[in-house]
Symmetry: D2
Subunit: 183 residues, 4 copies
Amino acid sequence: MPLNIAVVVGSLRAESYNRQLAEALVRLPAAEGHAFTFADIGSLPLYDQDDDRDQAPGVKDLKALISGSDGVLFVTAEYNRSIPGLLKNAIDHASRPYGQSAWAGKPAGVIGVSIGAIGTALAQQHLRNVLAYLDMPTLTQPEAFIGWKDGLLNPDGTVGEGSAEFLGGWMTAFLGLVEVHKG
Amino acid sequence: MPLNIAVVVGSLRAESYNRQLAEALVRLPAAEGHAFTFADIGSLPLYDQDDDRDQAPGVKDLKALISGSDGVLFVTAEYNRSIPGLLKNAIDHASRPYGQSAWAGKPAGVIGVSIGAIGTALAQQHLRNVLAYLDMPTLTQPEAFIGWKDGLLNPDGTVGEGSAEFLGGWMTAFLGLVEVHKG
Amino acid sequence: MPLNIAVVVGSLRAESYNRQLAEALVRLPAAEGHAFTFADIGSLPLYDQDDDRDQAPGVKDLKALISGSDGVLFVTAEYNRSIPGLLKNAIDHASRPYGQSAWAGKPAGVIGVSIGAIGTALAQQHLRNVLAYLDMPTLTQPEAFIGWKDGLLNPDGTVGEGSAEFLGGWMTAFLGLVEVHKG
Amino acid sequence: MPLNIAVVVGSLRAESYNRQLAEALVRLPAAEGHAFTFADIGSLPLYDQDDDRDQAPGVKDLKALISGSDGVLFVTAEYNRSIPGLLKNAIDHASRPYGQSAWAGKPAGVIGVSIGAIGTALAQQHLRNVLAYLDMPTLTQPEAFIGWKDGLLNPDGTVGEGSAEFLGGWMTAFLGLVEVHKG
């Protein structure tokens, strides 16, 4: 069954390694037949609870995307040993107003790439705490702490040969989790 | 010796409990004689590494404030079991470009208020990981997980009688840490 | 369908609040018809990787209990803002040798009681990171950060009236998760 | 001024990478002139609060060692994405009874080695939360997430050439922190 997956990339840099990784992931053979829609989180305002009753159009769009999805794929950079503020800001927006979170119940996958893989591991450790609170069943294993290296991606932006098996297996596991929760 | 303290409040809501707490803290007798300047983090853009060479005026102002301070007082809300995206966004901005972080070496205090005190405790657990990476010696004890309650603050915005001793002791400990590092 | 649940209590104190809570939880109406077996983690040695090929009888018993269960209920104290060493020691034992973890794939619930509920919340934030690595799908919501108070338990050790609905709902959610994974 | 440093190694394996690293660290030129005493945490019982009034001899020894030290060097393995239970057990013991923690105020350094360096990074992220609660001013930078590799240590157990500068700098920074707090 084709699944609708929302993709949230935790980096705004044009040449972001994580954006490149996200775009490669959705082109994996394991992802074929499913629909992946990238969320636009870069144009959101900073979250202010006073706006809860009148959410910005971008926030409404984000919430509609998440609500209409079968699962959420987080591909995130790490800044300062935690998740980027810009990603947390998007999470905070779509979790509000209280009781109307768009995230609740959506299965999630967490993956990321950083130089040396340590950074993304530390960020993911925090992100998992957040996703648990948001009531998002999150893929446990395999963990995906990707270290950036030559050949991770091919020049055409697809996943390189050396990483295809691992990343393909990860995608299959993630989509399997989403499938189970779609029921 | 009078100390210059930058105050960073992790909430934009006008009636924010944490803003109220921050404004009460700097009016404590223990704070007298020191200068507290509130950072404006609500007008910052979302952090984008592509802007590192041309930081927005608000980012430059934040960095100048932090760089010119003797220490930083974080008073933070909790959203979704971690620190607010808007606070992390400010932290990310002032930590960049690589090698030019404004936070490095500045002593820090972490405090916050939430309904039931659990939320702020969980957010502070993550924030401490970030501050360690930023090379900020951070007050260890006393912890300050404040639960919002009637009488925490007086109608005139000062700290209520029942909390004056604890919060005054906390402020004294924080300023003592800053003093030590000013040397 | 009757479920076999292994119960792991993170405290050895005879009058431990968490042991009392655990014993009350398994007597909830919501738990009726299911089998709960308490693990003995207090007689385990300290984990030493050199013993991986010759695990102590207590370790083998623990692994057999976990392997034979449909799910695991963790009821844990907090020491020093994380999980007790004795609980982590049990987790470490049953995760070994490499590739022969007894925890893998077992659904888990995490609950705990502490004075003020802050302690257990902080410990659970760490425990969730561990359980994710152990490949244990863990109940996300409702969170169960229980504050010890008069009336939490009745004199006969059952759950008090004021907490019966919340704890009963929590148990139902946990058993529902286990049921789903039993398939 | 010669400093007394207690060394706590979070692994019991005889050939433990972390024990090897610890023994190499104290032989660095930067460590010369200071006294390093290794704590024996492998013979401690599992912590049971009921024993608080009658702590085991090994616990008393550990507390005496820590109390008599100027600072504590933690060299820790990672198990299951957090600190080993055996290390946490030692920390729990020496923090008790309530109000008589041996750790309070002692400056600390945290370092560790694991395959790939990711494991130790994740464990250290948790350990820092614990040390903050224990009121231990902890070295912030440089972080020391060491990846095990050929040549990290020489055949005679000293630090290899390629790592001598980084590890020497780390030791100097740690001892500098201890010195400051000794006053």
